[in-house]
Amino acid sequence: MTVNIELWATDGYMSTPDGNSIYIWGFSDAAGKKAQLPGPRIVVTQGDVVSITVNNILPEATSLLFPGQSGVLADTGTGPHLAQPQFDGSGNLVSLTDFADYPGNPDTNPASIKYTFTAGNPGTYLYESGTNPHKQVPMGLYGAIIVRPADYDPAIPTRKTAYGENTGTEFDREYLIVVSEIDPALHSAVEKGTEYKIREFKPRYWTMNGRCAPDTMFADGMGCLPNQPYGAMIMAEPGEKILIRYAGSGIENHPLHLHGNHTRIVAEDGRLLKNGATDLSYKRFTVLTGSGQTYDQIFTWSGLGYSPADPIPTTVPNLRNLGVGDAGWTLWSGSPYLGEKGDIPVGVTSFNGIGEYYFMLHSHEEMQITNWGEFPGGMMSMLAIFPAGTLGDTGIIE
């Protein structure tokens, strides 16, 4: 089928948990809306003909690259043609692909452009600006594309897969984590129109789905984060197959460490790790997600079998002899057991709901889990394991 998507390249502001408000460029999905970070998720099915129109209202030209897609066509009103790098009259590269000009350019080139490609392979991909990408991508002109396999059917477990039936990629819940960095000096310079040297890029914030911890743990669509609609909390029940899609949309490479269990990386850059009949997937406890790369991983947390009837072999000391809520809050239930709640000291706020477990997911370059140096923050979120049968419809990307 044909999928038509309209994006607006525009500006807006992102919030950081330490109270900063940072000017961004990015994409929105409706005229008049502010830019969101990252851009709208695009979910299509293998074989779809995907047409994406970019309406540019930024003060400079912009464009879209689709790394991992083949045969991308561009159309600025004169008919579709193979998207090509653009050069000025002197042969200088001005854009890595056909672009939408800025409104009001006296040369009166169109300020919108339509890209079309056939989603040939299932997987996780990025879309990102190809014009002044050293500036426009860190400013926020990026987003993720999920391509479902042609036989995808969420109602049939053997066909609810990342890469198709019989590829060993079945999953119960899925999550997308797009990681990037923010150097406020870049954003401020763009906002004020002052000079900035990209070689002096020095991030002070690190993001998951455009948010810094602890905002990463909030739900999708929080009213207090109007331009950062996507949460980064992973939620599942014991024994479920959890698909996590990492996408590195920043400039740096990030070692993402998930507590709780190893993950099996089944695909990189939207390609199944298989060579004929030879399976090349591998397990990791830390996945170095490089700039521009994507990693699809599936794992299960099954626990160690402890319950009040089969108790842990140690005694938990009196709470007055323990630190609980040092950060001013805790996600602990007060009990060692899944689905049980215990005492929490007076004065400590527990955000634990029904005795679920929390495991940290974070960059292991630890300065990246701060907000401008203050822990906790940055590129950090949690995996929440809920008691069996309690979670409902969570972990669905549509």
Partner: protein
């Protein structure tokens, strides 16, 4: 299967670099077997790296963390935790993340329990304000032997079990961290440090900078892990690489490629059991990753170990230093059997 009782104290201390500079650290000290009445004499005696934690699949490990406080920073009443990095299917209580369970205040104890089910090279570290506590030195090596491990039977002296192709004669840690002396100084003098300014000036192998890396363990009591690799020609050597810094590193041994038989404490195996072990000359890996590499000691001689990011082979800008060490290969029969990892 054995019951292993260990007790690690968390406190502060000082380490030295080869240029004579001293640096304030947080770290671990082994209190196993020390009577309660004597543990306070270990305050201020943190070591870098922390003591080796070693267990076998199926063992029951009771690890007591005792927070001894910081004699140099009596104002600093930080709690601590122990996070076993990479323990599969862990429960929140034993995972050591303060935001997700508990931490251990000054003067208090907590017992962590582990029954490891998967062999390999792991790490432990404090997870309380980790950007500060890890850089300050609260890190240590952790290894799990396969259930059938038998050091007296060559076929069973392996990293991952009988017939896994991971037999070895000697084993060593290659434990990577960095030291940002400005950060350590700021912490010592009770000043805030902006961790986004992190910029190391020393790069450490097993808590030491070259040429201290090639000295014996006993030469630096606060940094007891030598980084010198020794073997007789023809012996099989297992290197347990750990990166617990905040940077990505590229470690090579000139003249000695290594076969990677484990990553993040799992064998490289496909879903149908495909053996995906491979050879590397340079091992490029990131913070929070571990590798197990095996090589056969070549002809007698000295083979330099270095960080191919050569600016990291320096001590505060002066070369040679930093992440440099040696593999020393001797004529067959020269060295007696190894007494333990890194010995």
């Amino acid at each position: 299967m054995a019951v292993i009782n260990k007790r690690f104290g968390a406190t502060d201390g000082y380490i030295t670099m080869p240029d004579g500079s001293e640096h304030y650290i947080f770290g671990w000290v082994d209190l196993t077997g020390i009577p309660d009445s004597e543990i306070f004499s270990y305050r201020g005696k943190a070591q870098l790296l922390g003591p080796l934690l070693e267990a076998k699949v199926g063992d029951e490990v009771y690890l007591t963390l005792t927070n001894l406080g910081m004699p140099v920073r009596p104002d600093l009443d930080d709690s601590h935790t122990i996070h076993w990095h990479g323990f599969p299917n862990q429960i929140a209580l034993y995972d050591g993340v303060p935001e997700a369970s508990i931490s251990v205040p000054v003067g208090r104890d907590f017992v962590y329990y582990y029954k490891p089910l998967d062999p390999g090279t792991y790490i432990y570290h404090c997870h309380f304000e980790p950007v500060e506590h890890i850089q300050m030195g609260m890190v240590g090596p952790l290894l799990v032997r396969p259930a059938d491990y038998d050091p007296d039977n060559p076929a069973y002296k392996t990293a991952y079990g009988y017939a896994t192709g991971t037999e070895f004669d000697r084993e060593y840690f290659v434990f990577l961290t960095e030291l940002d002396s400005a950060a350590h100084h700021q912490v010592a003098v009770v000043q805030e440090y902006d961790w986004t300014e992190f910029s190391p000036d020393y790069w450490l192998l097993n808590g030491r900078s070259y040429p201290d890396t090639v000295k014996s363990g006993a030469d630096l009591p606060e940094q007891p892990f030598s980084a010198l690799v020794k073997a007789n020609s023809g012996e099989t050597v297992l290197l347990r690489y750990i990166n617990l810094g905040y940077q990505q590193h590229s470690i090579e041994i000139l003249g000695i490629p290594v076969r990677i038989v484990g990553q993040d404490a799992v064998r490289p195996l496909g879903m149908n059991g495909e053996n995906l072990a491979y050879w590397k000359n340079c091992n490029y890996f990131a913070a929070g990753q571990t590798l197990d590499g095996i090589f056969t000691a070549p002809a007698p001689g000295t083979y330099p170990v270095l960080n191919r990011d050569c600016y990291k082979n320096a001590n505060a800008g002066v070369t040679p230093g930093g992440m440099v060490s040696e593999v020393q290969v001797f004529t067959a029969g020269t060295l007696p059997p190894q007494a333990g990892p890194g010995q």
